[in-house]
């Protein structure tokens, strides 16, 4: 597929905190860079040298397997050394503070911090306090920029362009960092985004966001080119935003039956991990329209691009 390459672009951000702050050109540049890295994973020796001698720390304060492994692998493929730091915290005020942890790691000479934390804003806080590059791997329900990037990367791969593209994001929008990062990336690139959820899972003042809102998946499914099904995050829900899982699935689950109304070439996406049978039936998750595993694969290339670019920007700024 031929596409105009964003040529001679000078990437300047030594941190990737979120997609809200990036322009369409910058997002496109990351995607183009990622495209170049995809080839490395097809080699018999899956390694390239750009981060040789650099240290990446995976600072994960929240459960994650997919994102953490993806970052580790991405860093390894670029020849960086990786430190894994996993700590589940429920109370941050107990023991060492986050900043102390980060500054201690910095004293050991790290170059890039990949951080996941349950509190929104933590990557920004870190970026203000330490010299290393900061890459947000998910903060509270604010942003998950590399997920947003791999989602648009995947869509671009299959659909070519975002012009006139209609994308539904379905599920717990209110507590989803994926929905927010997706929204910023997709709308900046020119797609139309529709949030589909019960009103109790739609965030406040959504009218000021660049999206449409629908409470009916049945109405939306016929119109969209892409559908991204979010995981119901039971750990984040406060109170009970819907009466039962059964009722939720009835209205908002992506079933085989519902898929019959969709466009034949609809892309079915999910950031994982899937609650099979809840937001999506297994037949759909594993069906011909599903690109869920493709997303995971693309995540690697996107994360390699991000690590590469922030490191390059830091080197330039020195």
């Amino acid at each position: 597929m031929l596409r105009k390459k964003s040529k001679q672009f000078n990437w300047q951000h030594k941190h990737l905190l979120g997609l809200r702050d990036l322009s369409a050109e910058e997002i496109t540049f990351i995607l183009d860079t990622a495209e170049g890295f995809e080839e490395i994973s097809t080699r018999s020796v899956k390694k390239a040298p750009p981060l040789r001698g650099k240290v990446v720390v995976n600072l994960f304060f929240e459960d994650s397997t997919r994102t953490r492994n993806s970052f580790t692998l991405a860093a390894n493929r670029l020849s960086a050394d990786v430190i894994e730091f996993t700590q589940k915290t429920s109370s941050v005020s107990k023991g060492e503070t986050l900043l102390d942890t980060a500054k201690n790691l910095e004293a050991m000479g790290i170059d890039i911090v990949v951080i996941r934390h349950n509190a929104a804003g933590v990557p920004k806080l870190l970026s203000r306090s330490i010299n290393a590059c900061v890459v947000n791997a998910g903060d509270g329900y604010c942003e998950h920029p590399t997920q947003g990037l791999l989602d648009v990367y995947t869509i671009r791969k299959f659909k070519g362009s975002f012009d006139g593209l209609k994308i539904a994001i379905v599920g717990d929008i209110a507590h989803s960092r994926v929905a927010r990062s997706d929204m910023w990336a997709m709308t900046k690139l020119g797609a139309e985004v529709i949030f589909v959820a019960p009103p109790t899972l739609i965030p406040g003042n959504v009218d000021k966001l660049p999206v449409k809102v629908s409470y009916s998946l049945d109405e939306v499914i016929e119109k969209v080119d892409v559908i991204n099904m979010l995981r119901i995050q039971f750990e984040r829900l406060g109170g009970n935003p819907f009466p039962s899982v059964r009722e939720y699935s009835h209205y908002f689950g992506l079933t085989v039956e519902r898929m019959k109304k969709a466009k034949p070439d609809i892309l079915v996406m999910h950031p994982g991990p899937i609650n099979r049978g809840l937001e999506m039936e297994s037949e759909v998750a594993d069906g011909k329209n599903s690109v869920i595993l493709e997303q995971v694969k693309n995540g690697l290339a996107v994360r390699m691009a991000v690590l590469f670019l922030v490191n390059q920007a830091a080197a330039q700024q020195q």
Partner: protein, 425 residues
């Protein structure tokens, strides 16, 4: 010879007596002896030409953290900050560790205040034991010990039946019952205003309904009990409307407003700077306008700092985890001038009234005027003096103050408490 202090040629503003004129104030043996043209010699003379001379300012909502969190503030450090900011009387909130909920607790605050020898230090007591909202605290004993009112500040009394019981009971002592209006069923976990900003920042919000629903409920309870009720730090346009209606009905309802709710909005939280994390949270520009309009209309009865000191190490935590609070006592007057005088919302006499006689009426203390025979508490202000707020020179032990570096006007030059100069530049 009597101990005489003569303050000459200032612009004397004494709202309770309708005074706003260039004249002199004579204090003899710690009490106001005369206000007017005074042609006599006194032992001590202060030339206040070009200055504003007012009754000592009153802040009826501060947190001095003692007992329990003395690393953040003490009554000594807090009252040193207060007197440097022109305040001669402050009212401590009872949410200390342990909370102020017995007569000995109240006496402890008073003693620490006396020992600090800076300002008059008053305190409110808890409405309910441990501010848990379940059983009533010993409000009678606390009233006898001199508590000026009752509040579970830091949170609201959730159970309407408990609040009704508290209100009924307090009518026996003629004390004000003050409420931090926050119905926890709307966004108990919130850390900032619920709105566009909380949505894009991914932070849990505190809905305006949390404040307004409780204020509405309390006003219904006031109708039933006719107790003197004070809504603390109101922050929303909806609360202003509720106060307006209550006052129309001539209910004994008063309210207060903080400088941060007049100067800052939730846009300030965009960088997750926890110095902007405060409860009630910073709201929107239209709420700020509604509060200013309320002040203009006379619906607001007191300006208060809600001085809430916290350690830098606590405020350096994640926005989600950091404690609520802004420490602004030391620059409060300049902030009110910026919010209210500079944009001509109100004039100096109106501002001084909101910081002297009107709060004094709410807490029923015999202060806030320069009437003959009253205690000689006087503040002398240079209204045109411009300076830059510098938290590093604060007398307060904490500097969680988002106004650091702001250019402001109006400096307190002398603070006189009971005829004694307790602060001067």
């Amino acid at each position: 010879m009597a101990n005489e202090l003569l303050i000459k040629n200032g612009r004397v503003i004494d709202p309770a007596n309708g005074v706003d004129k260039k004249c002199d104030v004579l204090i003899v043996d710690g009490f106001v002896a005369e206000v007017g043209r005074i042609d006599k010699q006194a032992k001590d003379i202060i030339d206040a030409t070009g200055k504003i001379v007012t009754p000592g300012l009153i802040d009826m909502h501060v947190h001095f953290r003692e007992p329990g969190d003395e690393e953040e503030e003490t009554i000594a450090s807090g009252s040193a900050a207060a007197v440097a900011a022109g305040f001669t009387s402050v009212v401590c909130m009872p949410n200390t560790k342990p909370p102020i909920q017995s007569e000995t607790d109240v006496e402890y605050i008073h003693r620490k205040g006396r020992q600090a020898r800076k300002t008059h230090v008053y305190t409110m007591g808890c409405i309910t034991k441990d501010s848990e909202g379940i059983e009533l605290a010993e409000m009678g004993f606390m009233a006898e010990a001199g508590a000026v009112g009752f509040t579970d500040d830091g949170g609201g009394v959730q159970d309407p039946a408990v609040m009704l019981r508290a209100m009924k009971y307090v009518t026996m002592f003629d004390k004000v019952i003050a409420q931090h209006c926050q119905d926890d069923s709307y966004g108990k976990d919130g850390v900032m205003n619920a709105g566009y900003n909380s949505t894009v920042l991914g932070l849990p919000g505190i809905d305006i309904l949390a404040e307004e629903a409780m204020l509405w409920r309390d006003i219904q309870l006031v109708k039933k009990t006719l107790v003197r009720y004070h809504a603390q730090h109101i922050s929303t346009a909806g609360s202003v409307e509720l106060i307006r209606q209550a006052k129309k009905m001539s209910l004994p309802v008063t309210c207060e407003v903080t400088p941060h709710h007049l100067l800052l909005t939730d846009d300030c939280c965009a960088d997750y700077d926890t110095n902007f994390k405060v409860n009630p949270p910073l709201r929107t520009a239209s709420d700020v306008e509604a509060l200013k309009e309320a002040i203009k209309e006379g619906l607001v009865d007191a300006l208060v700092s809600d001085h809430a000191p916290h350690l830098k190490s606590e405020k350096e935590l994640e926005f989600l985890a950091a404690p609520f609070g802004i420490a602004s006592l030391e620059c409060a007057l300049s902030l009110y001038v910026k919010a209210l005088i500079e944009p001509k919302v109100i004039d100096w006499p109106q501002l001084i009234s909101l910081m002297t006689n009107r709060p004094a009426q709410i807490i029923k203390i015999d202060k806030g005027t320069l009437s003959k025979g009253k205690q000689g508490d006087v503040t002398i202000i240079n209204p045109d003096f411009e300076y830059t707020i510098d938290t590093s020179v604060f007398r307060s032990k904490s500097c969680n103050c988002p106004y650091d570096g702001w250019k402001v006007k109006a400096r307190v030059e002398k603070t006189i408490v009971g005829g004694e100069v307790r602060f001067e530049i």
